[in-house]
């Protein structure tokens, strides 16, 4: 018994040293089960402004995101675009751009997309969707007298909790994980109390 206890202490000491070394690493390098992310840690970690889709037209890469990702009926949605030259990789500023929004019933409206001051090649508009279903969003602009356009699609839902299948699957999985954790916790606590009362 004494020998086992001594071996146990040695193991404990080794593990403590390892844990101390690991915990002394800067926590800023941690991200979602991964370590050491590149670039701006905070922007990368918050992840709310990552591009969701992109299209290429007339030598331009058009990146697109909507925030929220799942537009909700009657709610305000930011539609953000970034334009980059596919040949040089440089960001394209100074464009006059507009967005053609086609609703599920076929009506169209044009929304101006002004360039955001201080953010290179960002063009943004805020819209309120008034119809449920798939909307077609077509970017229109002209660079060097050459017009270019590309189309993205967004499905507008009645509630942020439902809508398209990814949203539903996401919420269901998180709810299931929560339920499993809760049941596991209750069973675990129950066993401990049952043992204590025995």
């Amino acid at each position: 018994m004494v020998r086992i206890r001594a071996q146990h202490r040695v193991l404990g000491a080794v593990l403590t040293v390892v844990l101390s070394c690991l915990l002394q690493r800067p926590c800023a390098l941690a991200h979602h089960g991964g370590l050491g992310i590149e670039g701006d840690l905070v922007q990368w970690a918050l992840k709310v402004d990552q591009w969701q889709e992109e299209g290429i037209a007339e030598g331009h890469r058009i990146k697109f995101l909507s925030y929220p990702r799942q537009p909700v009926l009657g709610g305000s949605t930011r539609l953000v675009f970034e334009i980059q030259s596919t040949a040089t990789g440089q960001y394209v500023t100074g464009l006059t751009a507009q967005l053609d929004i086609r609703t599920p019933d076929g009506t169209q409206r044009l929304v101006p997309l002004p360039e955001i001051t201080g953010v290179t090649a960002y063009y943004e508009g805020t819209v309120t969707f008034e119809q449920e279903g798939e909307h077609t969003l077509t970017w229109h602009s002209t660079a060097g007298n050459v017009p270019f356009s590309t189309t993205f699609r967004k499905t507008v839902s009645r509630s942020p909790l439902t809508g398209d299948w990814p949203t539903l699957l996401g919420y269901s999985t998180v709810a299931a994980a929560f339920l499993v954790t809760w049941v596991g916790l209750v069973l675990s606590v129950q066993r401990r109390f049952a043992t204590a009362w025995r």
Binding site: H32, G33, V42, A45, L46, K47, T167
Partner: protein, 165 residues
């Protein structure tokens, strides 16, 4: 505030992972030490330490889940897990494996852990001795499975770095 919560979530996630993975490694060492001495002393040693390990695993799992949820809430994206992007599929896989780990852990704790040790009359006729039962083999196999699953989850976490939204 958002940044503080984000970093706190990341730190707690790491601590949870250290407790859970480290706890399993510790359990492996403990099991090896016990098995080297298949006698009453080894069994009593195990009886004293198994509940502590179960607590460490429990705390680790709770930290992993709560810090993961905290970060999902901080990111505040409807749909929460970023589907259908590659990032979302990786997160979905992590969550499914996480649920398997919790279910397996609950099974170990409820079905096998209470029956690992059995008190038998001592061969000398004085008092009783503790012996390991077949439930111990089940505990070891399932704990190894959990360690394997959690290592896959860690690997998926690493893969998240390379997924492009």
């Amino acid at each position: 505030m958002k940044h503080v919560l984000e970093y706190l979530g990341a730190l707690l996630h790491l601590v949870g992972m250290l407790l859970f993975v480290g706890g399993h490694l510790w359990f492996g060492c403990l099991a090896a030490l016990t098995e080297r001495r298949r006698d009453d002393e080894g069994a009593r040693f195990l009886a004293r330490h198994l509940p502590r390990l179960a607590n460490i695993f429990g705390a680790g799992i709770l930290l992993l889940f709560s810090s993961g949820m905290l970060r999902l809430l901080v990111w505040g994206e409807p749909g929460l897990i970023f589907l259908p992007d590659p990032y979302g599929w990786l997160l979905l896989s992590k969550l499914i494996l996480y649920m398997l780990i919790v279910l397996n852990g609950a099974l170990i704790e409820r079905r096998y852990l209470p029956y690992v040790l059995q008190e038998c009359p001592s061969p000398t006729g004085v008092g009783t001795t503790l012996t390991l039962t077949p439930a111990w083999a089940q505990v070891k196999v399932r704990a190894r499975l959990n360690l394997l699953l959690v290592l896959i989850v860690v690997a998926l976490g690493e893969a998240l770095r390379y997924s492009r939204l």
